[in-house]
Symmetry: C2
Subunit: 241 residues, 2 copies
């Protein structure tokens, strides 16, 4: 399980949003909000600590709240008519969720690890945004960033080979930069969640991992951690499609 940092100042400074800036600037992912804006949002947010597996809301229910992740990992998914489930996104610290369509949530949301969330009344946030264009602009940047991420996800899923999808996924997790550990990537979600996100069967993910391990491209110290052994081949595999 993901360690929940007991002494976490993040939860007190108010929410933050991670994204690449829209305008000129670095290509890096940065925290968008100014201290003033964080305090402002923090003032209207309630803080929630929720255990792993808890369902935050279900698709189709009335969208009363908007959420910002302070820490932890969540999954956003849709249940398909067949009863199958598709994970459309994983959410990490400084991610935003709960933006609705015509007043209803479009995805279901569930915690994977224990999470800390900021929760803001939808109407309150909307009113605030309508009065504070600078703040609203930050949300615009964040949404643009999410759109890119979703498009990248589509590109991953449209690959044919399981190992290639898995490699791109690991690279995504790595770039998400829980830079706590330089040499090893943390995989907070289960194999079946991973399979679901990648549009593969659980068995294919398992086989792809073994295959990557056998060819000595990566090593799995344990099931929630991976270390890249052969960076060159790793990158080539992620790129070649």
């Amino acid at each position: 399980m993901l360690a929940s940092t007991p002494a976490n100042p993040v939860f007190d400074d108010g929410p933050s949003l991670r994204a690449v800036q829209c305008g000129p600037g670095t290509v890096d992912v940065v925290r968008l909000l100014a201290p003033r804006q964080r305090v402002q949002l923090g003032a209207m947010a309630s803080r929630l600590r929720l255990p792993a597996r808890m369902v935050i809301y279900r698709e189709g229910s009335i969208a009363q709240w908007v959420f910002i992740v302070a820490s932890g990992v969540l999954k956003a998914f849709r249940d398909l008519p067949s009863g199958k489930r598709r994970i459309v996104a994983f959410l990490f610290a400084d991610d935003l969720f709960g933006l609705s369509e015509s007043h209803h949530y479009v995805n279901s949301l569930q915690a994977i690890t224990p999470v800390k969330l900021y929760r803001i009344q939808r109407a309150t946030l909307m009113d605030t945004l309508r009065r504070d264009p600078e703040l609203e602009f930050q949300f615009l940047c964040k949404l643009t960033h999410e759109l890119r991420k979703s498009q990248r996800h589509t590109v991953i899923v449209s690959r044919r080979d399981a190992a290639g999808r898995m490699t791109m996924f690991l690279r995504m997790l790595e770039q998400h930069g829980h830079q706590s550990c330089a040499s090893s990537i943390e995989i907070p979600m289960s194999r079946s969640d991973t399979a679901n996100y990648l549009g593969l069967s659980l068995e294919s993910v398992s086989r792809a991992c073994r295959s990557l391990e056998r060819s000595e491209i990566v090593a799995f110290p344990d099931r929630h951690r991976v270390r890249v052994i052969d960076r060159l081949r790793f990158e080539r595999l992620a790129a070649r499609m």
Copy 2:
């Protein structure tokens, strides 16, 4: 290039944005902008008429402009390291494109049919949005809408069967409601663009179409038009996954 068509009122009223409203309201796709806002945006936009196949911009180039589609169809794509190409979105009237990441376009954009576009200086638009929260809010809604569409695209691509993907794609085109013709759906793009978007080979798309036709679920009067014959089975096929 800059000629505005007297015969086309769309091009004179100023740009518009299609999306489902974020807040309470209908679940239908509506035109977001108020007449005042359309005029305002129209005042800072130049009008372009571009022929089919024209490349508007290439991925990676400096993002100087933001565009809104007045009419026509375009494709947004990325070139992958292998030289293959993935279409990440088709764009129709009242769609927005050119939002950048750190000042560079992330996709390439090309016209499929002849198009009419509104083109606005990026910096000008940003300044305007920062001063007009109501207008900015409309862009926020539009982006949320695009994010949903991208997630739906991912769900389509993650299906296994070609016929199912094709059916969902046709349903998408239908809902896009060129409601000009109730009984038949227009398919503006080529088979190979379709294949590209669906993550299938050109041959698979072709076979899927023939298969749908043979089972008398749809009929293809010509290559750019399809009529749903058996609505029930059509919807079942689109839903079953």
